[in-house]
């Protein structure tokens, strides 16, 4: 059983943050909210999303599992104007999701969850450095780096106490330093890893510019990026495996 009413903004930002990595996903309809976990086909990027029941206008569920085609669901959610409410109801018999937006009714055929790639186990990583910054600074770093290269180095200078972003292209380089004052918080630790910009660009799309973003970094280790959405009732965690630094 699943029946919920949610604002269009909350639903689209939740879907957007998952659809940058995968086309299809499983959604856990838990009693206290939605949960989505997915890993991209290359096994390089992972997303873990939870949306608390409190983020919904009304929410009723009893622990079901559905598989959805994300681009379809996004298109439907896109039909709603800002501020409109979207009503979702699962028909257990036909395995279809009924969606209502102000009189518009859409019946979405669901995908067999078994046919969707397995959900990843969330690796338990001990990342020494933590950087908390504003979404717009992430956007600025990624956009600048994208002008010169296809990969980006994120790291923390323990001596000088700053967080840096490095991108080396064939001819041009980009370097950005953010000190304690520019950041919301910085926890020093040894950190320097290289990442694919393609993925960071996609993830960046889902990060609201006015939100607090936390980056957990290590040396040649995956990065963990988390931020909240939907008035703090939703939480997204991205993980991205590092590029191997070839010599």
């Amino acid at each position: 059983m699943f029946k919920a009413i949610v604002s269009a903004e909350t639903l689209t930002s939740a879907l957007d943050s998952v659809s940058v990595l995968v086309d299809e996903c499983k959604i856990h309809l838990e009693e206290d909210g939605l949960e989505i976990r997915a890993v991209d086909p290359a096994n390089v990027g992972m997303v873990d999303l939870s949306l608390d029941a409190a983020a919904f206008e009304s929410y009723e569920a009893d622990g079901g599992l559905i598989g959805v085609d994300l681009s379809r669901l996004e298109d439907i959610a896109g039909m709603a104007e800002s501020g409109q409410l979207i009503q979702l109801e699962l028909d257990e018999e036909t395995r279809k999701l009924h969606i209502q937006i102000d009189g518009l009714e859409y019946t979405l055929a669901l995908i067999d969850p078994d046919s969707i790639r397995q959900e990843p186990d969330i690796p338990d990583l001990d990342l020494p450095a933590e950087v908390i910054l504003e979404g717009k600074d992430v956007n600025r770093s990624v956009t600048a780096a994208d002008m010169v290269s296809d990969h980006i180095a994120l790291g923390v200078d323990e001596g000088e106490e700053f967080f840096y972003v490095d991108a080396e292209g064939d001819t041009d380089d980009v370097h950005l330093e953010l000190t304690q004052e520019d950041l919301i918080d910085l926890q020093l630790g040894p950190a320097h890893s290289l990442f694919s910009l393609d993925y960071l660009k996609d993830m960046n799309k889902a990060i609201p510019s006015d939100t607090e973003v936390t980056l957990d970094l290590g040396e040649e280790f995956p990065v963990k990026i988390y931020f909240g959405f939907g008035e703090g009732q939703g939480q997204v965690t991205y993980m991205l495996a590092p590029r191997i630094q070839s010599d």
Partner: protein
């Protein structure tokens, strides 16, 4: 009921049956990967356990797997994004030192437009990879040379009957199926080396019967596609007419392709009269293919195949033996190589056809060769100049017709002379258009072109026609010329060179 081939898929390398040596090589490759950092190609017949071995290997090594197989779309962009990223990145759990196994299944099969650029991208991924990559393929030689050279190679051979039977026996025990040993042997026998088919057959039979007996096993021989090279060997050296025809049923080529293959390779072994006979049959086959194309009646294919297989086999007069290096048909590459020449030829033929009122095919077949012979190496210079002027040939076209080099002074001077001649004629004819009113004949007479009497007659009629069309019987040549100017290039009546003289003259003055 779930698929037994999935249920009993090996989870570790030690469970992979048959191919012990290949299995050990694969393990060795993985264990020493940090030293050599090369990709590996695992190839062999379908169903012998290549993909299973790759997955089992990843499981043994504790490596996460990224697999791309034929059911995914595999265009260059997808391969770059997915396989490229996977082979250049560390893992989510181990970071940069973490290993991941990238498995590219069916690496020899990239389909047409959907997978455009796929195989080239695979080569790039393999060369730039920082993670172990396994390419799984059926046909080793279907992969590009550069790809094969960039990788280590491990061959999986067909699984012997001796290895298949224990696998089947094991499955029967675990599924609780009673069986006769002979039944298992019969299954193993009939699948000839394909372990996956054997397991599928076993499941199919076991679902029907309580107890497996040899009589239950009626699975007939599976269709197997035969390689084109084996077929050529059979056709040209071994089989009689009927055998050759039967062998062709297992070949995965259309008759059009097959004809090219046979036609290109028969002369490597046949000689003299038998070769002549063989080509006789091949030409019959080609005519049937022509009929198929013309009528779209594909049932004619059977006669084409009869001729090209049974006919060729029956033409053989003596024993053939040894090994011959058969090659792929050169038909397409020849077409590609001669494209430029053929385009020149067609361009000339089109102009001849337009001027002489023939079809392009006729111009090509019945006019062009004579022109070539008459102006061979520009020996008859006057004639060559006039030809160049008449058909408006440039250097390269003239060199094509005469066989003289394109850059030689001779050819260039002829083209220049031809241009002068055209100009001269233009002035002359325009003169007749403006001063010699009403007399088309005189303008024709003034043309320094022998051997065009019939044309002159035609042209005469032409002018009248044009003026009739104009609805003005008594018009002068000027009017006729003007009328023909109006119908320039319209050519609706399909008639030849409409008052070519009046035409160019007016153009010059306007």
């Amino acid at each position: 009921m779930s698929d037994w081939t999935e249920t009993y898929r090996p989870t570790t390398l030690s469970e992979v049956r048959g191919n012990n040596k290949a299995r050990d090589n694969l393990e060795e490759w993985a264990k020493t990967w940090d030293d050599h950092r090369e990709a590996v190609i695992v190839h062999g017949s379908p169903g012998v356990g290549k993909t299973s071995a790759a997955h089992a290997l990843a499981n043994d090594m504790g490596w996460p797997v990224m697999e791309l197989n034929a059911s995914d779309s595999r265009g260059a962009d997808v391969i770059e994004r997915v396989a490229g990223e996977a082979s250049k990145s560390g893992t989510l759990t181990g970071g940069e030192s973490g290993r991941r196994l990238v498995i590219l299944d069916e690496a020899d099969n990239f389909h047409g437009n959907a997978d455009y650029g796929g195989s080239r991208e695979v080569t790039r991924v393999v060369k730039e990879a920082n993670q172990p990559v396994v390419l799984v393929a059926n046909e080793f030689y279907d992969m590009s040379n550069s790809l094969r050279n960039a990788c280590e190679t491990i061959e999986f051979r067909d699984v012997s009957k001796r290895s298949i039977v224990p696998v089947l026996r094991d499955i029967c025990r675990r599924e609780g199926v009673e069986f006769e040993e002979e039944a298992l042997e019969k299954i193993a026998e009939s699948t000839s080396g394909d372990l996956r088919s054997a397991v599928n057959d076993l499941q199919a039979v076991a679902e029907e019967a309580e107890r497996l007996t040899a009589d239950d096993v009626v699975t007939s021989e599976r269709d197997r596609t035969e390689g084109i090279f084996d077929f050529l060997d059979a056709l040209i050296k071994e089989e009689d007419a009927e055998g050759a025809l039967r062998a062709s049923y297992d070949v995965d080529e259309t008759p059009d392709e097959l004809l090219n293959w046979i036609e290109d390779n028969v002369p490597k072994d046949y000689a003299g009269e038998e070769l002549a006979d063989a080509y006789g049959y091949l030409s019959n086959a080609d005519r049937w293919l022509g009929r198929v194309r013309a009528t779209q009646n594909y049932s004619f294919w059977r006669y084409a195949t009869d001729n090209m297989t049974a006919g060729v086999a029956a033409s053989r007069r003596e024993e053939k033996g040894g090994w011959t290096r058969y090659g792929p048909p050169s038909y397409w590459s020849k077409l590609g190589r001669t494209k430029g020449t053929r385009n020149t030829r067609d361009a000339i033929a089109e102009r001849i056809a337009e001027r002489e009122g023939t079809s392009v095919a006729t111009a090509r077949r019945e006019v062009l060769p004579y022109l070539s012979a008459m102006t061979h190496h520009c020996r008859n210079r006057d004639l060559t100049v006039r030809m160049a002027a008449t058909y408006d040939l440039d250097e390269s076209e003239l060199s094509f017709v005469t066989g003289s080099g394109k850059d030689t002074n001779k050819v260039q001077s002829i083209v220049e002379d031809a241009e002068d001649l055209l100009e001269e004629e233009a002035v002359e004819h325009s003169g007749s258009a403006f001063f010699d009113a009403g007399d088309t004949d005189s303008s024709v007479g003034g043309e320094p072109d022998e051997g065009t009497e019939s044309e002159a007659a035609q042209r005469d009629g032409q002018a009248t026609l044009a003026s009739t069309a104009d609805g003005d019987e008594s018009t002068s040549g000027t009017n006729a010329a003007a009328a023909s100017d109006g119908t320039t290039d319209d050519d609706e009546t399909g008639n030849r060179d409409e008052t070519d003289d009046g035409q160019s003259g007016l153009n010059d003055f306007f």
